[in-house]
C-alpha cells in the first residue's frame, strides 16, 4: 500500500490507455452502435464506458502477477513467509490493494466521461464499482496464482496474454456481444465476465432491476472464492 501511494505514477499510467480509447475510439461508436438504438454521444458512452471499465478491471488484474515475481526475486515474499502472517493475508493484502488502485482509476474515468454527457445515478454507480471490485479481485488473485505456478516473467506474459485476449474479446467490453453472430453469442455465454459487462451496462443505463446484475455478482463471488482458495494454497507451498 505504501509503495503504491509513494509512486502514483503507475496508477495514472494505468488510466492513460482507457482515456485514449475514450477520446479517440468512443466517437466512432455513435454510428457503430446505431443498430442498438444509440442516437447521441451520451447513449454511446453509456454503452461503451461500462465495458471499458470491465476491460480495465480484467486486464489490470491479470497483469499484476509481474509485480509478484519482482517481489519474489527481491526476497520480500520469503521474508514475509517466515512471519506468522497467514498465507491468505499475504495474498489478499496485495489483491485488495490492486482493487483500490482500480477503483481510483475507475473514478477518474467516470469523471472524465461526464463532460461527454455520461450520466449515472450514485447508487447505481456504487453497485457498479462493487462489481468492478469483484472482477478485479478475481483477476488479481488468479494472476498471483499463475505467477507462482509459472515462476518466470517470460512465460507468465505468454500465459496471461493467451488468457486475457479471449476473455476480453468474448466479454463484449469494446463492442456489445449483441452485435455478434449467434454462435459467438453462445460461446460468450460461458464467460462470466461477459455477464459482468451486461450487468455493468444495465447499471449505467439505470436499469437496476436487470437480472444480469445479481447473476453476474453471484458468478463472480463464486469465482473469487475459488481463485482465493487456489492461490492461497500456492502461497503456502514453497515459493522458490
Amino acid at each position: 500500500m505504501l509503495l503504491m501511494l509513494r509512486s502514483p505514477i503507475w496508477v495514472i499510467l494505468g488510466v492513460a490507455q482507457p482515456v485514449v480509447y475514450l477520446l479517440l475510439f468512443a466517437p466512432l461508436l455513435r454510428p457503430a452502435l446505431a443498430s442498438l438504438g444509440t442516437q447521441s454521444m451520451a447513449d454511446a458512452y453509456r454503452i461503451y464506458v461500462p465495458g471499458m471499465l470491465v476491460a480495465l478491471a480484467l486486464a489490470g488484474g491479470l497483469y499484476v502477477g509481474f509485480n509478484l515475481l519482482a517481489e519474489i526475486r527481491a526476497g520480500v515474499i520469503e521474508r514475509a513467509r517466515v512471519t506468522p502472517i497467514s498465507r491468505v493475508s499475504l495474498l489478499l493484502g496485495r489483491a485488495l490493494r490492486d482493487v483500490v488502485s482500480l477503483i481510483v482509476q475507475a473514478i477518474i474515468i467516470t469523471i472524465l466521461s461526464l463532460p461527454f454527457g455520461l450520466f449515472v445515478r450514485i447508487d447505481d454507480l456504487l453497485l457498479a464499482y462493487m462489481l468492478l471490485g469483484l472482477i478485479n479481485l478475481t483477476t488479481s488473485t488468479l494472476s498471483y496464482g499463475i505467477a507462482l505456478k509459472v515462476g518466470n516473467p517470460g512465460v507468465l506474459g505468454q500465459v496471461i496474454n493467451n488468457v486475457a485476449q479471449p476473455l476480453m474479446l468474448l466479454s463484449g467490453c469494446l463492442l456489445p456481444i449483441a452485435l455478434a453472430p449467434l454462435w459467438l453469442q453462445r460461446v460468450a455465454l460461458w464467460n462470466p465476465f461477459g455477464w459482468a459487462v451486461k450487468g455493468m451496462r444495465a447499471l449505467f443505463a439505470g436499469n437496476i432491476g436487470d437480472p444480469s446484475i445479481w447473476q453476474s455478482a453471484l458468478m463472480l463471488s463464486a469465482l473469487v472464492l475459488l481463485a482465493l482458495a487456489w492461490s492461497a494454497r500456492l502461497f503456502a507451498r514453497s515459493v522458490r
Binding site: L3, A74, G75, I77, R79, V82, S238, V239
Partner: protein, 319 residues
C-alpha cells in the same frame, strides 16, 4: 533450544521424462544449546541452506523431527514462526522504502502494535548503527548496511532463535568484522544464533560450537578447539610439482609421520607430524632420497580445513 533428529530433504526435478533426484539433506542429528552461537560449516551445495530453510519453516522436511524453542516443527510450524527469526543469504527488502519503514512493517507482521513497533524500530536502528541512514531509501545503502538491516529485520520481534544464512558472504573485511560483533551482541542479548558459513575463520572465531556438513551429512561436530585438537601436532604441507601421490606413498611409512593426506586438485601433500621443526628436515631428506622434487614447504597448526580434509578426503578450500 533446538533438537534435530533424522532431518531429510530431497529435491526432484523433471526434465523431459527424466526425473533427477538430489538428496540435499540426508539425515541430520543435531542439538543446539540455549544462548550459543552454532555454526554450520561446509562447502557450497553441502545442504546448509536447505537445512536452515527447513528449520525456518520455509521448506517441509521429507522425514525427521525437530523441536525449536520447545515447539515441534512438523506439527506446529505456525508457532515456530513466532519464535524464530530468519535472515536469508540475499536478504529481502524493497528498494524504495527506508529501513525504518521496513522495520516497522516487519514488527507489525508479528502482531506488534504500531506505537511499539515504532519504538522497537528506533531501538534497532540505534543498536545496528543505522540511525543516520534510517530514513533514506534502502537502494542507497551499502552492502554492509543492507546486511545489518536484514539482520535487524530478522530479530525485531525478539525471537529466541535466529537463523543466519551466510551472514558475511560478499562483505568486505571491515563489514565482516562488524557483522561478527553484531552476532556476538545478539548472543549477549540472550538469543541463540544458528548460522551457516563456508568461511573457516568465521566458524573458528565466531562460533561456540560447529558442525561440519558435507553432501547432506554431518561429518564432525564440536567446538572448533576440540575438533582441531583431534588433529594434534603440526601440519607440514609440501608442494610437489606433479608427484603428490608418490610423495604421499613415500612419506606414509616413515616413523615420524602420523598421517598423510593428499587433497584432491592440489599438487601438495599434507603430513601430520608431532613436531614440525624436527620433521621438516627429515621430510626433505626422505623426499630427495626418493628423487621427488620439492616445490614449497610450509608449517602450521591444524585448521578446520584439516578437520574437513581428514573426515571427507577433500579440502574445504577446493570444494
Amino acid at each position: 533450544m533446538i533438537e534435530i533428529k533424522g532431518l531429510r530433504k530431497s529435491f526432484h526435478t523433471k526434465h523431459r521424462r527424466k526425473t533427477t533426484t538430489v538428496d540435499a539433506v540426508r539425515g541430520i542429528d543435531l542439538d543446539v544449546a540455549d544462548g550459543e552461537i552454532f555454526g554450520f560449516l561446509g562447502p557450497n551445495g553441502a545442504g546448509k541452506t536447505t537445512t536452515l530453510r527447513m528449520l525456518a519453516t520455509l521448506l517441509s522436511p521429507d522425514d525427521g523431527e525437530a523441536t525449536i524453542a520447545g515447539v515441534n516443527l512438523r506439527t506446529d510450524p505456525a508457532e515456530v514462526r513466532k519464535r524464530v527469526g530468519y535472515v536469508s543469504q540475499t536478504g529481502g527488502t524493497w528498494e524504495d522504502v527506508s529501513a525504518r519503514e521496513e522495520l516497522v512493517l516487519q514488527a507489525r507482521m508479528y502482531g506488534i502494535s504500531r506505537s511499539e513497533a515504532e519504538q522497537r524500530a528506533a531501538a534497532a536502528l540505534e543498536a545496528f548503527d543505522l540511525t543516520e541512514y534510517a530514513d533514506r531509501k534502502i537502494k542507497t545503502y551499502s552492502g554492509g548496511q543492507r546486511r545489518r538491516v536484514d539482520v535487524a529485520l530478522g530479530v525485531i520481534h525478539g525471537p529466541k532463535v535466529v537463523f543466519l544464512d551466510e551472514p558475511t558472504a560478499g562483505l568486505d573485511p571491515q563489514s565482516r568484522a562488524r557483522m561478527w560483533d553484531e552476532v556476538r551482541r545478539l548472543r549477549a542479548d540472550g538469543m541463540t544464533v544458528f548460522l551457516t558459513t563456508h568461511y573457516l575463520d568465521e566458524a573458528d572465531a565466531l562460533c561456540d560450537r560447529i558442525a561440519i556438513i558435507d553432501h547432506g551429512e554431518i561429518v564432525a561436530e564440536g567446538t572448533p578447539a576440540d575438533l582441531k585438537r583431534e588433529i594434534s601436532g603440526d601440519v607440514v604441507t609440501v608442494g610437489v610439482n606433479t608427484s603428490a601421490a608418490k610423495a604421499a606413498e613415500v612419506l606414509e611409512g616413515q616413523p615420524y609421520i602420523r598421517a598423510v593426506e593428499v587433497p584432491e586438485d592440489e599438487d601438495a601433500v599434507r603430513a601430520y607430524v608431532d613436531a614440525g621443526e624436527t620433521a621438516i628436515p627429515q621430510i626433505m631428506r626422505t623426499l630427495e632420497a626418493s628423487g621427488i622434487e620439492l616445490g614449497t614447504i610450509e608449517l602450521r597448526r591444524p585448521s578446520l580445513d584439516d578437520v574437513f580434509l581428514t573426515k571427507t578426503g577433500r579440502s574445504l578450500r577446493e570444494s
